[in-house]
Symmetry: C2
Subunit: 641 residues, 2 copies
């Protein structure tokens, strides 16, 4: 037995026993050391870097580790085996995972504005922002030998009288605290609950002054989880936050997660990672921020992809992955916070935005509802760039959707220096065609730590415009910023060691460019195939909504120039941020919005690309800058920058 000590940057060290030959990533997971391993440990992403400080491990070489770094003990955790006692330094990627996301937390001015506009649109579309939640103050007579009505009847009578309803339901959790709270508050309490027709279901009893009723909207992404707490009466947002999905340790994409949940105890592990390690800490944090008890949260709405919905419920997702791709449910309700052990009122209903297909989930339904394309005459395209890419096209007459495996490149995955759109990410760049020197903008204005999706789009567009790379993404110029690593792989340095937050160069190499081109090709060919399916040319698209975690810094022109989006005018594009979260917000406070989501999901056609003839050809043709068929990019793509 060997002893491995993980020295975690900025935190206490962790010591654990390990077997010689044991994979170091497995050891780290056992020790509960957070490791960013989006590729699920196959050595391809290069994110799980650690530094051997003492002792020995046996590691495979990787192009993600330079010669100099190797000399200094840097290794990929997933490609290393324990060989004896070891002391290993773990850089603080965990805190990066916990960073506030620019796109998701709605804290920047731009996001708030986007959010407010979407909400206004929904109200303009006639969706009333009302719900059945009701808080009533009750003043009951104290019991005496002459008035021996038991507590539950006393409460029921008081609610009946106050609200003029016939039926009053007092569920078990309320019954459990009934005697105590009535006596503590001298029979003067506030009853919170749902009023529907002639019936009041009491969800909580509090002190009379505590009338606050809070809802929670959550966007559960494969990579990132975003949450807002909402005043259910006023509709106002009380707190916002986001964090990484702790399931990441079981794989970066839904396929790996599904495989993992199929192993013995897997469903429980994945559910626990999501609920105990992701959602509950976030819930606690936000409740603490605004000083409320979790019991105040009376409804939770979840917008998530089909797989995440299954994993959240601990429902087997195996069949989502295997032909004929049949999930357990598209639309389903009937679970409470208590059943999922979510830190909220035990009776809080979990509203799940209905799924459309195995790979187009409730997040897209909620997003579609939020951006309002179901109410317009004009033909709209919505592109949601998450860990996967999902496309919706249509108008008030029809809606069709599909998903493509774009991979995690838009969120910085599978890119050497890629990162999410958080503080430290290069979110845009321009380049001098002569000197090849870049001018970058970094989120938070500090030193650069990596490049996020919008930055990569700019970088590739600029490298291409300046003739530094070819239409196939190969380096074709030489210069001070263009270097070659020890494997002979050329790369472009966008930030020198001295300018970077980590002290390492920030760069993009040919593998990164290739990964990104395949990701953008997947998006474009999905759009192409979807429009062919409805027999409409690209120029029928009136408007494009871009949603997701790519970052609000996205430059639409550049995205068109690299052939990622169809060749339309810049004013036809809108970045709508996290529209899934906006949709979940609406579903939380508005019963009409929830109803609308069901309508949208039930009415939307789902196109399974993998069984769609022509998709592969379209994809291959799109893996080019901007496209093999240059006639598809004759407008904006050809204009002078």
């Amino acid at each position: 037995m060997s002893t491995v000590i993980f020295e975690i940057e900025g935190r206490e060290s962790v010591k654990i026993d390990a077997l010689p030959g044991e994979n170091l990533l497995e050891v780290a997971r056992r020790a509960d050391v957070t490791v960013d391993a989006p590729c699920s440990g196959n050595g391809s992403c290069g994110k799980c870097r650690m530094q051997l400080r003492e002792g020995s491990v046996e590691s495979l070489r990787s192009h993600h580790i330079s010669e100099e770094e190797w000399e200094n003990g840097w290794r990929l955790c997933c490609c290393s085996k324990v060989m004896g006692d070891a002391r290993i330094f773990v850089p603080d990627t965990a805190s990066l995972l916990r960073f506030r996301m620019k796109t998701a937390d709605l804290s920047s001015g731009r996001e708030q504005e986007i959010f407010a506009r979407l909400k206004q649109n929904l109200m303009d579309s006639g969706l009333s922002f009302t719900n059945g939640f009701k808080a009533v103050n009750l003043c009951m007579a104290e019991p005496s030998l002459e008035d021996t009505v038991p507590d539950n009847e006393r409460l029921t009578d008081a609610i009946r009288e106050c609200l003029g309803v016939q039926q009053v339901e007092i569920p078990y959790p309320v019954m459990q605290k009934l005697a105590k709270i009535l006596r503590e508050q001298n029979f003067h309490v506030c009853a919170k609950g749902l009023l529907a027709k002639n019936r009041f279901c009491c969800l909580d009893l509090c002190a009379a002054e505590d009338q606050r009723m809070v809802g929670c909207a959550i966007d559960i992404g494969t990579t990132t989880v975003s949450m807002v707490l909402i005043d259910l009466t006023a509709g106002e947002i009380l707190a916002k936050g986001s964090c990484g999905n702790a399931q990441i340790r079981y794989g970066a994409d839904v396929i790996n997660r599904i495989i993992e949940q199929g192993k013995p105890g897997g469903r429980e592990r994945l559910q626990e990672a999501l609920i105990e390690q992701t959602l509950n800490p976030l819930l606690s944090g936000l409740c603490g921020e605004i000083g409320i008890q979790p019991e105040c949260i009376l409804r939770i709405t979840v917008a998530a992809n089909t797989t995440m919905n299954h994993l959240l419920l601990g429902v087997d997702a195996q069949s989502v992955r295997m032909e004929p791709y049949i999930p357990s449910f598209f639309s389903w309700g009937g679970v409470t916070a208590q059943e999922l052990r979510l830190r909220a009122n035990p009776l809080a209903e979990i509203r799940i935005a209905p799924n459309i297909g195995s790979y187009v989930g409730g997040d897209i339904t909620a997003g579609t509802m939020a951006c309002g394309i179901w109410d317009r005459e004009e033909m709209s395209l919505m592109i949601d760039l998450g860990t996967n890419g999902e496309i919706v096209f249509g108008n008030r007459e029809f809606l069709i959707s599909c998903a493509c495996s774009a991979g995690p490149a838009f969120e910085g995955g599978e890119i050497s220096c890629g990162m999410r759109a958080v503080d430290g990410a290069i979110e845009s760049c321009r380049m001098d065609p002569q000197t090849m020197e870049p001018i970058v903008r970094v989120i938070g204005n500090g030193r650069a730590a990596g490049i996020c999706g919008s930055g990569i789009i700019d970088l590739i567009a600029e490298l291409f415009r300046c003739g530094i790379i070819s239409a196939k993404g190969k380096f074709i110029r030489e210069g001070e910023r263009i270097r070659t690593d020890s494997y002979g792989m050329p790369y472009y340095v966008i930030a020198q060691k001295e300018q970077s937050a980590s002290g390492r160069e920030i760069f993009i190499n040919e593998v990164d460019i290739d990964n990104f081109i395949r990701a953008k090709g997947a998006i474009f060919s999905a759009v192409d195939t979807l429009l062919r399916a409805v027999e409409m040319p690209m120029d029928m698209i009136d408007r494009v909504y871009v949603a997701g975690g790519i970052g609000s810094g996205i430059n639409m022109e550049n995205a068109v120039r690299i052939g990622m989006f169809p060749d339309l005018r810049p004013d036809q594009f809108s970045y709508i941020g996290n529209s899934s979260l906006t949709g979940a917000y609406a579903m939380t406070v508005s019963d009409a919005a929830e109803e609308k989501c069901r309508e949208i999901a039930a009415g939307m056609t789902y196109l399974e690309l993998s069984t769609c003839p022509g998709y592969m050809d379209s994809f291959v043709a799109a893996c080019f800058l901007p496209h093999t068929d240059s006639r598809m990019f004759t407008g904006m793509a050809q204009e002078e920058f």
Copy 2:
């Protein structure tokens, strides 16, 4: 720190650390050693006998321990303190607590006959024995690329078609197993659930051949818990069992339990003792006996006193005990097996027989329903002899009830050699007036281990008839069988050491007789006060139903002779066994019976004896053999035996 080793008869020893001065009963409880301590550790019951085999404890003397026993190391556990390391022998009272109860398990011919008659009566009264449970076999098409309906819709459609209903509910626990069971069974399954109007709520999915739907009826007594499993379709009883209520370690009566649950963590401890340590083992045992999975149990009905109902739900019972005696609820429903962590189908509804007052509970409602007095012209009296005594009087026009603190004497509590009506109990006796030699009948026909309620009635009646004790219960004759203990207390030996199962004499002393006289006095004066309240003389009573754990061996004439029951003809009395359990059985299989219980509870008047003028006088007058007012016992009580 001292080490205490408990050597438990017939089981493995238990070793535990204890602080010097720590109470030995507390230490035993910490070590999970089952100790019968009905008096809750105040030294009065003498049941917690243990033998010090090595080391030392400091103990108080007690009249429950003879001089000779003291010399041999016998001590009362609750009156002993740890003084250092000790090795202590614990007699196997635990297995006694687990004995099958003669009165409750319906296994004797007499009980079955009583049960069948009560059921027939209910049907004669027009209560239909039907319910909404339904099991349907479904054969669904397997999904394909052409038929991509998700699992829950596929199931819903199949149920709709099969049953012709509109709404189908698939709750969370069914959703969780849906994908797995459909595929394991090749989409050919049995759906079990509740059908009501246009709606089917699916409670379970099984293999097509498994159509069994089982209900469970439980009588939760303060001392004893009895349970039957029932086929919900045929109404047939599948298994029966009973055991001691493991809450006994927290006190013998409801008052001590309420005090205990008021301590920090008390509600959880009491609930766990009842659910985890009493009901779940019993459920597992009975399921195993008939070879079913606990998931087959789709409904559980509980008949229990008001306090037990509160403790079962973990609802604070403090206010039951304190003026103005207001419980949290009389009638309430809406909890599932899953919420109580009962070992049954998670969705099984828990039906709770509605309570009538703080000290007349759902067990009495169920019993009243079962014995059918609500449907008759004749005036009936029902007397339920449990740890408390409850009385119901009335007919189809009116019903009135009250409770009296008779104490545990009828179940053998507070009687030196008292025990419950299980194997080994002396259940009846006759005595030769000359020789004073007894002839006894022992349950199970083995050696006597103690005396149960019916045996004590006979014994006292015979001692009185033979002039051995006075009307005040004092010994007034001398003889070989009448002895005096080391405290000068006279006692009568009913079984010599050689004849007894334990090797100890079985006897009754003046304290026992006094305890029993006060218990019977409480019952008689309650009846007396109840009839005065409705201004009816005793001879208005047409019929007396005696229910409860006193034992089917009860001799009604003797009970009248000692002044326990009103002075009526023998043919006016019926022993109806555990009528609460019969009632719970009916409520489980019959929706009409449940409805009738609600009607009975809502319509019954509750008389609070403690605030009733005249009750104390009546009680004092009744503490005499048969009564201070001999005019009340001129009939049967005076007849020759």
